[in-house]
């Protein structure tokens, strides 16, 4: 599976299952991991010793609304990320493996 396929599959997983999803709670799970393919291919990479779990986090169920061009609550159709005053929501970009904005 290519990383692009992986991204789509991950995105589908986020939006299509239960009400609450667990995401990896770290800053820096990159979307474009340059070393990813290499890392995945072997158990022998040096970096494997430094892999650790991040903090778990929850995000609400959401769907993309083409009219508003943002994520909305599937029931109320209200935007999820309209104001940045909820740390539980705000930290998602700091732990989302499928978010475009990421740290290495």
């Amino acid at each position: 599976m290519s990383r692009l396929e992986g991204t789509i599959m991950n995105a589908k997983r986020i939006f299509s299952t239960n009400f609450v999803q667990l995401l990896l709670g770290i800053v820096g799970v990159g979307v474009v991991g340059g070393a990813a393919g290499t890392a995945q291919a072997s158990n022998d990479i040096f970096a494997r010793q430094f892999l650790n779990k991040g903090a778990a986090m929850t995000i609400p169920k959401m769907v993309y609304c083409p009219r508003l061009q943002v994520m909305v609550d599937p029931l109320t159709r209200q935007p999820i990320y309209e104001k940045n005053n909820n740390m539980q929501l705000a930290k998602v970009t700091a732990g989302c493996s499928d978010c475009p904005k990421y740290d290495d």
Partner: protein
């Protein structure tokens, strides 16, 4: 008439949602194009002749001519919207064709890019960052980037400090639910150093910390936040897995550090950058890295620093008549 602000991103991008909300509150014309679903869910068309060159895309039932664009917030240009039934070879060809079609966007228009993809890609290199940081006079940790096991052994032997290991990037799907963090190069880990032959890595002398900084830069505006990473023992080496448990505070950097940060941004041609610094107990500011696509939502939420508003300001400026 005001030009349009275009957000090139993916469907799941909460920061883009926030930015769109801010732009709409201000009445700024703006549109989003989720290129992670291109080409299936959107259409890109170029028309070229001796007399004209036109480019437009249709996405979410909106048709946008690139002549109407004034600025672009760029987050994503990896097309991934392909039918599942495509074979491997067909898919590879479709990806290449789609990427090359998108790649022209960086050439055809006179928009402001935040950040320009070419600049962003060159700025992502950690050795390049250290080179540039040193050039502008920022303090950097003693560092070795290599895939030579002997060089690592010599670096460790010749250093009086503990050594930490970091990746040059963040791997995906190596082990589900896990990510690569900065870690101490212990004797046990050093025993595996021959494996570094396959994946060059960063080896750095550990710098003693008073606290850490996340500095978000947009143009010439600098938003600095203190991270009390040493208040939590588990976060002392790498605070990222514990960001929910840490305290943050908006601060003002010394002017000379700000000047050096802006000089580094200029070297890479970045408009946006998220810097990580260590502040040592004796008050030195040690540059660790700059993330050209660094996250900011959590730090904005924790400190009240108005980063989204500053991004909106920067994107709107070139769009005004």
């Amino acid at each position: 008439m005001m030009k349009t602000i275009l957000l090139i991103t993916a469907r799941f991008d909460p920061a883009a949602d926030l930015l769109l909300a801010e732009l709409r509150r201000r009445g700024a014309p703006c549109a989003r194009w989720n290129t992670d679903h291109f080409p299936l869910d959107s259409v890109l068309t170029y028309q070229a002749s001796n007399s004209e060159f036109r480019a437009q895309f249709v996405s979410d039932d909106r048709k946008i001519d690139f002549a109407a664009i004034g600025s672009v917030w760029w987050q994503w240009d990896l097309p991934a919207g392909f039918p599942a039934e495509l074979g491997v070879e067909e898919r590879r060809f479709a990806e290449t064709e789609s990427q090359l079609a998108l790649a022209a966007l960086t050439t055809i228009g006179d928009f402001l890019w935040i950040n320009h993809p070419k600049q962003e890609r060159s700025a992502k290199s950690k050795p390049a960052q250290l080179f540039a940081a040193r050039q502008v006079g920022l303090d950097i940790p003693r560092t070795l980037v290599t895939n030579d096991p002997d060089a690592v052994r010599q670096f460790v032997a010749g250093s009086g400090a503990q050594i930490v290991y970091k990746g040059l990037s963040q791997p995906r799907d190596v082990e589900p639910g896990k990510a690569l963090f900065t870690g101490l190069l212990t004797r046990e880990r050093l025993a595996q150093i021959d494996r570094i032959r396959f994946t060059p890595g960063i080896f750095q002398e550990r710098v003693e910390k008073s606290h850490e900084l996340r500095v978000t830069v947009i143009g010439s505006r600098i938003f600095s936040a203190k991270i009390e990473s040493q208040a939590l023992a588990q976060a002392a080496l790498d605070w990222r897995p514990f960001l929910q448990d840490l305290k943050y505070e908006a601060i003002q950097l010394p002017p000379e550090i700000e000047a050096k940060i802006l000089a580094l941004m200029k070297i890479f041609g970045l408009v946006y950058g998220a810097f990580d610094f260590i502040v040592t107990p004796d008050g030195r500011y040690v540059f660790l890295e700059v993330n050209p696509s660094g996250q900011y939502m959590w730090i904005e939420c924790a400190t009240g620093l108005e980063i989204t508003a500053a991004l909106a300001d920067a994107l709107m400026a070139p769009c005004r008549p």
